[in-house]
């Protein structure tokens, strides 16, 4: 979670699979705030996978919105190549003030259809 100027942001990885990773970012404004993502990338072993960026929006007063960031890439190949650690880099601009947010990422098994089944 980051709190910069007029907005607080919290990120959740919502899905991870063969074709990429999907992330939701909760944006909560403290006051009326113009928010946009200038950049959103998943960096894995030096390779950068940009997300499709949501439209800029103005959050009136104390508001809460959810932004969707789909990082589309060949996650299956990255897994097979042993590239399972990286970081999300999100550049958030709130009322013309830019902040870069780094979130470490680790691709691993979760208990599922069998022990250590699907990955996350």
């Amino acid at each position: 979670m980051i709190d910069r100027g007029c907005v607080q942001a919290e990120a959740f990885v919502r899905m991870s699979g063969k074709t990429g990773v999907g992330m939701t970012v909760a944006l909560r404004s403290h006051e009326t705030c113009a928010v946009r993502f200038a950049r959103a990338e998943l960096v894995v072993d030096g390779a950068r996978f940009p997300a499709e960026l949501p439209a800029a929006q103005t959050l009136p007063g104390r508001s809460l919105v959810y932004a969707w960031l789909p990082f589309a890439f060949d996650n299956d190949a990255a897994w097979n190549d042993g590239k399972r650690r990286g970081q999300f880099e999100l550049e958030v601009v709130a009322n013309d003030v830019s902040s870069t947010w780094i979130i470490p990422a680790h691709h691993d098994f979760v208990a599922g259809r069998w022990e250590g089944g699907t990955t996350r």
């Binding site: 919290e10 959740f12 990885v13 919502r14 899905m15 991870s16 699979g17 063969k18 074709t19 990429g20 999907g22 939701t24 909760a26 809460l64 959810y66 969707w68 789909p70 589309a72 996650n75 299956d76 897994w79 097979n80 691709h107 098994f109 599922g112 259809r113 069998w114 022990e115 250590g116 089944g117 699907t118 990955t119 996350r120």
Partner: protein
């Protein structure tokens, strides 16, 4: 070997076969599941709303080693009140593409499909110990029922022929026709260790 001894051996093999657990070796290749990279239908900021990936299914290579044994009539003629015994080793190989991945405790087993059965009988005992034939059978399997057909050859003298095996595992019957010695028939009681290598699709 007496008939009573043979019956005891057959019973022991059958008991071991039915109580045997399998082995499964799982590769982590292609482990990520299938997703549709779209915003979740519902969002409230709760970490519990993670959308799990779908099961992509898996590839399964069945590699089942086994022992087959039974009384019968082999290439050496025996007296009216005696029988020969053959003891063999085999390896069953089958490949399947599964729509769903196995669960942790599933025992691997080729269900309906084609299986390659490779084997060798290191012992065929009649009046003395002999080496039995090697074989390669193509099997059609219906769970524990199988019918196999393929070539067989005695490696010591090159006596070649054809072999067929019908089984309702662990029980079975093996019939051969060898070019130089004619027909052979053996009971084929089988003990197999169900083993598979799997990797995600």
């Amino acid at each position: 070997m007496s008939r009573r001894g043979l019956l005891a051996l057959a019973g022991l093999i059958a008991v071991v076969a039915t109580g045997c657990n399998g082995l499964r070796y799982r590769s982590t290749t292609n482990a990520p599941g299938k997703i549709t990279l779209a915003a979740p239908p519902r969002e409230n900021g709760s970490p519990s709303l993670y959308v799990p990936a779908e099961d992509p299914g898996e590839h399964e290579l069945y590699v089942g080693p086994g022992v087959v044994a039974g009384p019968g009539v082999g290439r050496v003629e025996v007296g009216e009140d005696d029988v020969a015994v053959e003891v063999g080793l085999y390896l069953r190989l089958a490949y399947a593409k599964k729509a769903k991945s196995h669960r942790r405790d599933d025992i691997p087993w080729p269900t309906t499909g084609w299986v390659l059965n490779l084997g060798w009988a290191p012992l065929q005992y009649a009046e003395h110990a002999d080496i039995g034939p090697v074989h390669a059978e193509l099997e059609r399997a219906w769970f524990i029922g199988t019918i196999g057909l393929g070539p067989a050859i005695y490696p010591d003298d090159g006596n070649a022929g054809v072999q067929a095996t019908a089984a309702w595992k662990p029980y079975g019957v093996r019939l051969r026709y060898m070019a130089e010695t004619g027909f052979e028939v053996f009971a084929a009681i089988q003990v197999e260790l169900p083993t598979a290598i799997t990797w995600s699709r």
